[in-house]
């Protein structure tokens, strides 16, 4: 265990926190760092600091993949006052290290690949210069970290071992089925409920990942780790509608791989 640096040392090296106005009542916060994984971890830490400190005037916090959007009451504070408060809070509390979150859980998400469930797989494979099998292998061999809960508590995960970036749809789909496994850039996301998305759809899980009648509605949270497994379409009916729980709580353990 290392001794934390004295507060004065922390204060002398404030992290590179960028604060950019996003309209009259919002501020976009990003940490300047060359390493994407560090930016994501720091964004999670920054979120925890702001939820703890609750700077005066802050109304709402929206987590992004590598950023935080703070919406505020523009009659209480200005962009500049709020940015200063946040910088002081960060300097005082420190962003800490960027290692894995304490208590992170592991999830295994089974997915079915088919013409119906994977409409964008051929295009994604072509864009990456891989075969479709190699594209899926790149996904299933990756251990992904949930950075944030996006639309309707969708787990947004970074770290897919793709050799390049996957582009988004030219025109976002207005209705993507729940369970859809989607990719963009080198990130993946699972669609919890029907709705719009501009991400590329390459598979579908039979599991229910979010249910507002469960408490909490999801068993995952930012910092948890996820691995995908391609399963045979014949197993769909058996798994359909089961609520996603951490790997060690799932009945029968792993869902098994495609034979």
């Amino acid at each position: 265990m290392t001794t934390p640096p004295p507060p004065a040392a922390t204060l002398h090296r404030p992290p590179g926190l960028e604060a950019e106005p996003f309209g009259d009542s919002a501020l976009m916060l990003r940490i300047a760092d060359n390493d994407a994984e560090a930016r994501r971890a720091w964004a999670r830490r920054l979120r925890d600091i702001l939820l703890d400190v609750r700077p005066y005037g802050m109304l709402n916090l929206v987590a992004g993949a590598e950023s935080l959007l703070v919406e505020f009451d523009c009659l209480c504070v200005s962009h500049y006052q709020l940015a200063q408060t946040i910088r002081l809070a960060v300097a005082g509390l420190g962003l800490g290290d960027t290692g894995p979150a304490a208590g992170a859980k592991d999830f295994i998400v089974p997915m079915v690949v088919s013409a119906e469930f994977s409409p964008d797989l051929p295009g994604v494979a072509e864009e990456l210069g891989l075969s479709q099998d190699a594209t899926l292998a790149a996904l299933t061999s990756s251990v992904l970290t949930i950075n944030l809960l996006a639309a309707a508590m969708a787990p947004m995960m970074a770290g897919v071992n793709f050799p390049g970036q996957v582009s988004r749809c030219t025109e976002p789909r207005t209705d993507v089925a729940p369970g859809s496994v989607m990719v963009a850039g080198t990130s993946a996301i699972i669609q919890p409920f029907p709705g719009p998305s501009g991400w590329k759809v390459i598979g579908r899980t039979p599991l229910t990942i979010c249910d507002i009648h469960e408490d909490p509605p999801t068993s995952y949270q930012p910092g948890d780790r996820v691995r995908f497994e391609v399963i045979a379409e014949s197993r769909w009916a058996e798994l359909k509608g089961q609520f996603l729980r951490p790997a060690h709580q799932q009945e029968g353990g792993r869902h098994g791989t495609d034979a």
């Binding site: 309209g23 929206v62 590598e66 959007l69 809960l149 309707a152 988004r168 919890p192 991400w199 507002i212």
Partner: protein
């Protein structure tokens, strides 16, 4: 008149209109969990409706989107209707919008023929028994919380209102200083401020302020999709998914302009070329398909001043309601000064 105890009222919806739901000003502390704040698209009209019946601004109310909405109540109720101009009758007699209205028990209230804008808000003195998700009655239909009102639906109301009359007229006339928005212009002008990619999109300022845009049919609570000229910024590179403020103007790869609403999600990586001024959001929340609009650029400072003025008028109304209702014995469902300076409201 002594404030009296609450009593149970049953409101029976006989005609639900095209789409009517429970509503409020939206969820707090839900966005970082991926649940949009949601809430009334026209926050100003919704907050005003509640203020006019002595409720807190964020109390549950009903949002009516078109068609013919009708209800009766088992006891006397005290209501207000705000939002876009519509015909409101109580027992067949026309009554004013944007003022409190006394409704006798078992008398049919009809709201119909909404024009110009898209939404009406119906508030009841008291607390509506509306289901909540994450502390709010606002619909989150995508997650299985639609909150839709149907014909035959019976809604509970806890109210301390026991009827009110003044000696000379049957229907009391309230003349409260209500800031009523004007939805009648053929071309709406929406104030906007710079977005993060405004500077990186040369020509966008002149284009937005010099063109007319039409709200398209695919618009909803997630966003208004506008038809009109756009410019695609070049060389911005990959945009990492990030949070976007309500009212952000996005240009997707296709030729349309999207203005994000209160049920927006993270941006799908599209550039944000402008952001609606906070004071213009209520008007945007009334825009229906076919609505024509153009845009006017403001500095952030000017946008904050517009919002300050809008809030000043709302607070002045709140003060008048508090003193009037206290003087004549109408129920106030929130003690004056007990609320934090709310902030998101309206």
């Amino acid at each position: 008149m002594e404030p009296t105890r609450e009593q149970d009222v049953t409101i029976t919806i006989s005609e639900p209109g095209w789409l009517s739901t429970f509503q409020d000003l939206g969820r707090e502390d839900s966005e970082y969990l991926g649940v949009p704040c949601g809430g009334a698209a026209d926050q100003l009209s919704a907050a005003t409706a509640n203020i006019l019946v002595g409720n807190r601004r964020g109390a549950p109310l009903m949002e009516i989107m078109g068609g013919r909405f009708a209800f009766t109540a088992s006891r006397d109720v005290f209501i207000s209707v705000t939002g876009t101009p519509a015909d409101v009758t109580v027992g067949g007699v026309p009554v004013a919008m944007w003022q409190p209205v006394c409704v006798p028990a078992k008398t049919c209230v009809i709201i119909t023929n909404a024009r110009d804008g898209m939404r009406n808000y119906l508030a009841f003195s008291g607390e509506l028994d509306a289901p909540r998700f994450m502390g709010s009655a606002a619909p989150e239909s995508r997650m299985g919380f639609p909150q839709q009102l149907a014909a035959g639906h019976k809604v509970g109301l806890d109210s301390r209102y026991h009827g009110f009359s003044q000696p000379y007229l049957g229907q009391p006339l309230f003349r409260l200083p209500v800031p009523v928005p004007d939805f009648s212009a053929n071309l709406w002008t929406i104030d906007v401020v710079d977005g993060p990619e405004t500077a990186g999109t040369p020509g966008i300022r002149e284009l937005l302020s010099g063109s007319v845009y039409t709200v398209g049919p695919k618009s909803n609570h997630v966003g208004l999709r506008l038809n009109g000229p756009v410019i695609h910024p070049e060389g911005l590179g990959e945009i990492i998914s990030h949070g976007v403020p309500i009212g952000a103007f996005e240009i997707p790869h296709g030729d349309e302009l999207i203005i994000l609403g209160r049920s927006r999600t993270l941006t799908a990586g599209y550039p944000i070329v402008a952001v609606a001024a906070k004071a213009s959001l209520p008007l945007l929340g009334q825009a229906r398909p076919g609505r024509k609009m153009t845009f006017r650029w403001l500095t952030n400072e000017a946008a904050v001043e517009r919002w300050r003025e809008q809030q000043r008028l709302l607070t002045a109304l709140e003060d008048r309601v508090q003193s009037l209702f206290a003087a004549v014995g109408l129920p106030l469902h929130e003690a004056p000064g007990s609320s934090p300076p709310d902030v998101r409201a309206a």
